[in-house]
Amino acid sequence: MKEAILRGLEQAYSNIHQMLADFLPRFMVMLIILALGLLVAFALRYILQAILSFTNLSRGSEKVGASSVLRSAHLPAMTVLLSRSLFWLTWFCFILIGLSSLGLAGFREEVFRILHYLPQLFAGILIVFVGLIAANFLSRTALLAAVNAGHSSARILSWLIRSLIWILTISMTLEELGVAGKTVVSAFSIVFGALMLGLAIAFGLGGQDMARRSLEKYLGDTKKEAEREPNPL
């Protein structure tokens, strides 16, 4: 009995020893990969930051309205955001490579799945970003046009345009990420279709007279508006 216990303990000790002998070198490899990844990520971050500051990206991003989107989302400036993103992306890849080097059962497959999902994830982030910029730009264009034309509901128009683009962006992003793709597309089609149909019916049938009056007022007003102000040039 005593011998069996001792043998078991010996066996367990040799197993642990064997496991440690197998694991520790891999763990060391992982740590080395992580440290190397950290260095590479830092280097890439500073290189990208230097390149971007030369290319006047901040000014360009202000021009297209990307900076205001970032500000409203409490995110850092475009140059900082891109360089930080590159840092984390690089280091994340190194972390995955390091973890896969541990050789844990089933982990390698998970790592490959995550790596395969990365392009979709980035496409999704890109869609959100472009969508936000487009929403910001177009809603501001509408606001300025409506304000300068003297329309009373300028902010509502601007808000409507922003909301529509947001809805479109969210549905496109979810579809890209494969999150309940069919449901999202169907829901979007139903909501958007219903909205347009509702507007068409309301304006075309229910509000025929109002539509005519509005158009007449708008077309007439544009001419009258010009008669009310002195010629600027």
Binding site: K63, L143, V147, N148, A226, E227, P230, P232
Partner: protein
């Protein structure tokens, strides 16, 4: 003969440079040879009235420049049929002139037509005219828009003569106007360009202006012809180019210009995008020439430098004030990012005032414009949006102006204009500081 040979020997070089000129146009220009005077017809919007302009040009050359070699460059890009009609009218006119020897020019007036499948933009028409002026070595040139109903032979002579006889490089027109016409020019374009570039030309945007061959060559060599601002309205850019110390500018009084006081062809936003956007772009692109310079010189004027009429007009002041108020309220976040906090606060408190108490003082107006120009430079928001956001504030200024000068004489208005110019000059250091300060922050 020698000069012609010399001219022809230069053609290959010029061909390489001016590849945008069609073979047909180059052939026509080579047939003309060198000229003293060049009259370009630029606008494509008024092709129907081109014959009126052609007639005025012919008369002008026959009456005032009998001995000079002249060419008309029709850059309208109009259809052949309408051009043939215009040419037929010219032939009739030439026959008429034979019967009136006093009117006949001693030299043939050539006409060169620019063929293009699509009507050229104002910028590309001017580009063609400048290239033609350079190729033909014209000494004095005029660009005309045939849309101007008041175009007379005298006007053309008044724009050509200073460049041809007195060696001025740029001749801007001055018109007799209604006192409430051209308020954007009076309150923004003229005083701001004068304070920044040190040279005051009253009509930066005109349908007709004169220039020397030297200025034409200098403008032709600038790499701006693909810029959107130049394509749409190149006249202010050319005037500002002429404000450089190397060139001599003058203004020539032409007389009354028929234009309604109230109302305008294009909407106010479009006018702002073109006129103010163009001025801001010029300030940005020519910063090396004005930033460290405090040059200020008076522009020589031939004839009266201002003449105002004051017939009754129907302007809706109340509506203008309403548009100002609603505009400033709706665009508050946008204005907050463009204007200095102090300026923005002053405007917000002015909006809250009653119509009868509201005044947009020159000090606030000038600071507002300088804030806008500095924000344009730093691209605080999309530049096109920034220019459009100025429209409500301009309306506020217009309302204030209409109230203040409702019963004023021309002399009083001129004094007000001088005060505004003085305010622009006084606040120029504030502008340069804002312009530079933000650069340091950004870098």
């Amino acid at each position: 003969m020698f000069s012609v040979l010399q001219f022809e020997s230069e053609i290959p070089n010029l061909l390489a440079e001016d590849a945008f000129l069609s073979d047909d146009l180059l052939r026509q220009l080579m047939d003309v040879g060198e000229v003293d005077l060049l009259v370009g017809i630029s606008s494509h919007d008024h092709a129907r009235t081109t014959s009126h302009a052609l007639r005025a040009i012919e008369r002008s050359v026959q009456q005032h420049f009998t001995r000079q070699r002249a060419v008309i460059i029709n850059a309208c890009g109009e259809e052949k049929e309408s051009r043939n009609k215009a040419a037929a009218r010219l032939r009739i006119l030439a026959e008429e002139n034979l019967r009136f020897p006093k009117l006949a020019a001693l030299r043939t007036i050539h006409q060169v037509n620019v063929d293009s499948s699509v009507p050229p933009s104002a910028g590309s028409a001017l580009h063609t005219i400048l290239a033609a002026a350079d190729l033909l070595r014209a000494r004095a040139c005029v660009v005309l828009s045939p849309g101007s109903a008041d175009l007379t032979p005298d006007w053309i002579a008044k724009l050509l003569a200073p460049a041809y006889q007195d060696n001025f490089d740029f001749v801007a027109p001055i018109y007799a106007r209604h006192k409430f016409q051209g308020l954007l020019a009076r309150n923004l374009l003229y005083p701001m360009s004068r304070a920044i570039f040190g040279c005051g030309i009253r009509e930066l945007y005109s349908d007709e202006w004169g220039f020397s061959g030297r200025l034409a060559a200098a403008c032709l060599n600038q790499d701006v012809w693909n810029e959107e601002h130049i394509r749409a309205r190149p006249e202010a850019w050319m005037a500002i180019s002429a404000m450089a110390p190397d060139f001599r500018c003058c203004q020539s009084f032409l007389g009354p210009k028929m234009q309604s006081t109230a109302g305008y062809d294009t909407n106010i936003v479009e006018v702002f995008r073109q006129a103010v956007g163009n001025l801001f772009w010029c300030i940005e692109s020519r910063q090396s020439s004005w930033l460290e310079s405090d040059r200020s010189e008076l522009v020589h004027t031939i004839g009266p430098d201002h003449e105002l009429t004051s017939e009754t007009t129907r302007l809706n002041r109340h509506r203008i004030f309403e548009l100002f108020q609603s505009g400033v309220t709706e665009l508050e976040p946008m204005l907050g990012s463009i204007l200095d906090p102090v300026t923005h606060a002053e405007i917000k408190s002015a909006v809250a005032l009653e119509e009868s108490k509201f005044r947009f003082g020159p000090e606030l107006w000038v600071r507002t414009l300088y804030d806008f120009a500095a924000s344009y430079h730093h691209a605080v928001i999309n530049r096109d949006h920034l220019v459009q956001a100025l429209v409500p504030l301009y309306r506020g200024m217009t309302f204030s102006f209409l109230i203040e000068y409702a019963d004023s004489s021309a002399a009083e208005m001129e004094a007000g204009s001088d005060r505004l110019c003085g305010e622009f000059a006084r606040q120029r250091p504030y502008f340069t500081e804002k312009w530079k300060a933000m650069i340091e922050v950004k870098s």
